[in-house]
Amino acid sequence: MPTTSAPTVAELADRVVALCETTFAAVDGLRGVADQLLLPFTQGASLAAADVAPIDGPVRQVLDVPRSPLVGAGLVVAPDVLVDARHWMQWWTRDDDGQPQQLQPELDAEEESFWDYTVLPWFTVPRETGHRHVTGPYVDWLCTQEYTLTFTVPVFGTHPERGRCHLGVVGADIVASWLERRLLPLLHRMDGPVALVNAEGRVVVANRPALVTGAVLRQADVPALWRRGPDDATSGGATLHRLSDLPLGVLVLAQ
């Protein structure tokens, strides 16, 4: 049996980035479609919900790929962009048989069951930072009802009167278990406790039972390490390696 050396943190980081890039590639494809559909708005024309509906075809296509990790995808429009719907989305999920189903949440703000997506991090963070974002892992009880990570990119445009404005986000969901399965073989061969965490310090996947997916790490103050900047940060025997361009990091803990 050939002996293989334990994977390095850099190898794990590369693998995480590669998996995330696969998902963002699909999202970026949809963003291109969204840009086209929203173009008339940036030229001063009135845009209605029906005008963004043609994104359904490409959305269903990315969900329909065999063995695709994506369980949901679509376009979520910012308030007051469409003339006939203050809040709007064209979002699709895969049902238990793998068939795409359009999500139909209550988007009328007058209704009490109104789903105010404008306060949720997968919508607000890309809007505030102008940058792509990974939200989660979290229980997405309205959409997948699974432990989910949501990948979103912002869409901006320049309106003749309103100037530069946020037009919405394009995004996709994957379930946490998909990432766990793909990363555990690598994590398992690493020496010492290692966890993939988000900026809050929540475990995405790790190689120790005590560091179970979804737990918030108590062994290290990840938010404090995170605030120190993009370079590796160490405190109390724990080292955080932030992944470039993603709100995720690899945390190496003392044995």
């Binding site: 892992p137 979290y138 229980v139 009880w141 009802q145 432990y147 809050e200 929540r202 979804g214 918030v216």
Partner: protein
Amino acid sequence: MRSDGGRAAVFAPLESGRRADAVVRRLADGIALGLLVPDEQLPSETELADTFGVSPVTVREALTALREQGLVATRRGRGGGSFVRDARAGASALHERLRAVSPSELRDLADHYVAVTGTAALLAADRAGAQDVALLTAGVGELERATDAGGRRRAESRFHVELAAAAQSPRLTRAEIALQTEVGPLLWLPTATPAAQAEQVRQHAAIVEAVAAGDGQRARAHAVAHVYAALARASVLQLGLLGQLDPDED
């Protein structure tokens, strides 16, 4: 309108306190006691406000609650107004449900619900992030702002689903969602009154405070007390309903 002692008592001015709730109780009792009969038209909102000594807004709130409980129906247009519904004939979905289960079944539902909700609170205290706490806090505000029974019930249900989501457990979250269809009409509608609202808001705030502080045992204790307080209210209503049944009727 016919006038006699019992009926006059129904419409006697209210002294103080939780006025809309008191109006609801007075009219609901009148209907339950048969002093107000099915299909009878209630006085107008203005008249009711005068006789009870409350504002028209309070009367409207009370009538909404009675409508939600299925005790009155409001017809619009000419000849419209609020009419007494035949509660014995099963006009009220809530009363129907409460009659359909026995006290032991109602208690068992609360026990099951406590197992899920209590554990959700315990785990949420350990696992909730800043975003989870923000959503739970917003949920408390939603219940505070709710203005009718349906809105209170929805806010209550939603808070519990958010609590399970904060526990990072899809299974507990799905269990919460599944239980809401049973718990909603049986435990939340009886507490969906203006008076219970302030109490429910305080209980929610206490749960959120313990979750934010990372105190799992306290969060669980508040969540358990919250559910059993709802059970206590529902039980009072249920015993009143079952007490009116013909003992030989199955």
